[in-house]
Symmetry: C2
């Protein structure tokens, strides 16, 4: 059942576009799913894609536009007139339309909005543009089905038929009072199982989860996941129902957040894909490599500060990579667990207990590793008794230190309102490299007395 | 609106449980949302939690059970009789019930199933247990609303009222032929807007996305996301409609996959949370640390193999941490981008072009970093002209090597049916550490001629 985009098919489309054979293209593509059209558009050149957008039905192209990568969409919209863009927005849900408007240059935003024929639709879009990014207000759509608590079921079904035409998916019917304040909800299923003469007020469910326009996106996602909701109504400061958020927006949000965190942990500083340009990929990757480089040079300067090592204990230098790798790995493990716990809101209890637990954990891991290293260093690398002891004590200390840095840096960042995910990956690795090597030689100096 | 679980509240509940004050507990908790009950149960001792499960309404507790961490649930189910477990299963959707059965010891599975009163429900659960884990068959529920294409709308509404009682959420009404083969779908919204005398065959949408019982979970998630579906029907080999998968299951699946990948990248080998026991956390973390340790010891043996360094070029040793850190960071970046691309199915085009692109990218990053290192090593660390050149050429080579390893290992694993995510994090870091240091000294040897 799944559509597979082949090179042959793309070629065929490109030839038809070059011939400007609009009829053949319409015949071929108008029955496609918008997600497949979007996949096709991403493979075409911008002017070819723009040609198709203008050619095909707007109910299809408006949805396909929403599925595109922001950059691809930008190039297409650049080649469209305000009137043509407005036509696409006309077919979109208000939340999608507002997202598109926000992506446009400021000087044409107003022009596009003015060209939207449906005035209510335009007013709704303008309202959505006023909410802060990252809040429920910016995420919600104005499209929803609402009924008054005083109506009968029959009246309600009539009214719903009218409203439902503008709403792609009816999850719940929201019940409001005279002032538009949210009172409860009805499911479509409930409507099917009661008599037409009953009043809404007799059958609606007064308990309804909701968020306000100012609720943070992350909280919206958490609530919808926790309570398994497929849609959640949004109210303003006065409790008036102003919109709703559906699960598909949340699925996209969860996915994007997970990818952002993953890339951040891998030291990639902006959202990139494997197929992006070399320049964009360099911009995303070079900053963290530079920070890692500074750490490496810092480590070099630490080592050069312990001259005695080169003369008297060169064996210690062999274990620098071991110390560094272990410090890095422990730090990444600790920070990943904490960052994930913070994201899922499962980090509870007091900080001292967490400190003790993490230290205990590090001590156990450290002892296991140190024991192996003790034997191997002594027998395979012929380190002296004292050298082996120094290496092992340093290893355990470095593991504990790295675990504590990995645990506390994210918690402290989070307490100060900074995304703890920035503390993962290269950041933790680099600082642990430097601290680890410093600790190693300080402990060796203390024990060996150089 | 959100429920906040406080220590005071938990205390109050624990006191009531100790007093066995069932009435007060029922009064207090029966109006709660199941997700909040689950949060409470996770904070209680197993015997307290079990007491509550047995006490409260099964429509509430059966849903709460499904929200619990598997370990917490296991402890509670251990304290319940087959009959009591069967009572909970009676209230669950078939997919959830099958998941619970699969978690039970094999010797009581049959007993529990036998104790389920509703025979159809029990048969459906047994059917689901037969599908392979990780397939649509194991993910789907048997609950759905289906109608025959020959019926009238009025007849359809009557039949739906009957069926809808067992279905928590009606997303779509599936249309089947006489043999039960999937023909298309109707939305509840469509039913509201047509006359009762029309036939289903006149109004149903014959184009419907579906998967088969053997479709892989990841493909199901990809299809539902791509086409923004809230539910998808599942058919058997003959095209007969046998179940449906809803978006809430997919949300959970996406979240779990993202967390698994994230932990794998951080070198954590099994699913753990910050609040798990020290033993469990050690088991999850120690294996990767041991692999990192082997890498560190490997590096030590490489360094010890280049005796001339200690005697003639000790300066080179200062830059081992820099080489190692850079190799690790580049490898992690490259692998993260490829792993994410593979997961999203956006890695296309031929492998040679990707190789050239990744090399070019690495060359640019390498040149930038090498230039800075060239200056700093020469002026701050007083390396000789040839030493600086060696360090920089090694650095560029190591960056290219690390990028290629980071790019190709995941692609090769993926081609061989292995989850490419295992190649991220410590695995890439460790192998890059070792290859990086080896490359560094080989190049230095070549240039400096020791």
């Amino acid at each position: 059942m799944q559509f597979q985009l082949t090179d042959d098919f793309i070629n065929q489309i490109e030839i038809l576009i070059a011939k400007k054979d609009g009829n053949a293209l319409r015949e071929l593509l108008n029955e496609f799913h918008f997600a497949d059209i979007a996949e096709l558009l991403e493979e075409l050149k911008s002017d070819e894609a723009t040609y198709l957008i203008k050619l095909l039905e707007t109910d299809l192209t408006s949805e396909a536009l929403m599925e595109l990568d922001e950059e691809v969409r930008e190039k297409i919209l650049d080649r469209m007139s305000p009137k043509e863009i407005a036509n696409e927005l006309e077919e979109m849900d208000t939340d999608d339309a507002a997202d598109i408007i926000a992506e446009l240059d400021e000087n044409i935003q107003k022009e596009v909005i003015d060209k939207i024929k449906d005035e209510d639709h335009a007013a709704d879009i303008v309202e959505l543009l006023n909410y802060d990014e990252d809040t429920a207000g910016a995420l919600m759509a104005k499209e929803l089905v609402k009924v008054k608590e005083t109506w009968t079921i029959a009246g309600c079904v009539r009214e719903m038929r009218r409203q439902a035409k503008n709403v792609t998916r009816v999850h719940s019917i929201y019940v409001v009072d005279k002032e538009g304040k949210l009172k409860g909800r009805l499911s479509l299923k409930d409507l099917l199982t009661v008599s037409g003469k009953a009043h809404i007020s007799d059958i609606y469910i007064p308990k309804v989860d909701y968020v306000t326009v100012n609720t943070d996106n992350e909280d919206v996602a958490r609530i919808m996941q926790k309570y398994d909701l497929e849609a959640i109504p949004v109210v303003d400061e006065n409790g008036v129902l102003v919109g709703r958020i559906t699960i598909d927006d949340i699925v996209d949000f969860i996915k994007e957040e997970a990818e952002k965190d993953y890339q951040m942990a891998a030291g990639i500083s902006q959202d990139v894909e494997a197929d992006d340009s070399v320049l964009k990929l360099t911009r995303a990757r070079l900053p963290w490599l530079m920070i890692g480089m500074m750490g490496g040079l810092g480590a070099a300067s630490i080592i050069s500060g312990f001259e005695a090592i080169f003369l008297t204990y060169p064996n210690l230098l062999l274990f620098v990579p071991l110390i560094q790798a272990t410090a890095g790995n422990v730090g990444v493990q600790s920070s990943a667990i904490v960052v994930q716990g913070l994201a899922n809101d499962t980090i509870k209890g007091n900080i001292i207990r967490r400190l003790l637990k993490e230290s205990l954990l590090a001590l156990i891991n450290g002892l296991c590793i140190a024991l192996v290293v003790l034997l191997i260093s002594h027998f395979a690398f012929h380190t002296t008794y004292l050298e082996s002891i120094s290496i092992c004590i340093a290893l355990i200390s470095v593991i504990i230190l790295a675990a504590l840095i990995g645990t506390f840096v994210p918690i402290i960042l989070d307490k100060n309102g900074i995304d703890p995910a920035v503390a993962t990956g290269p950041f933790i690795t680099t600082s642990n490299d430097v601290f680890g090597i410093l600790t190693y030689f300080l402990i060796a100096k203390l024990i060996l007395g150089f």
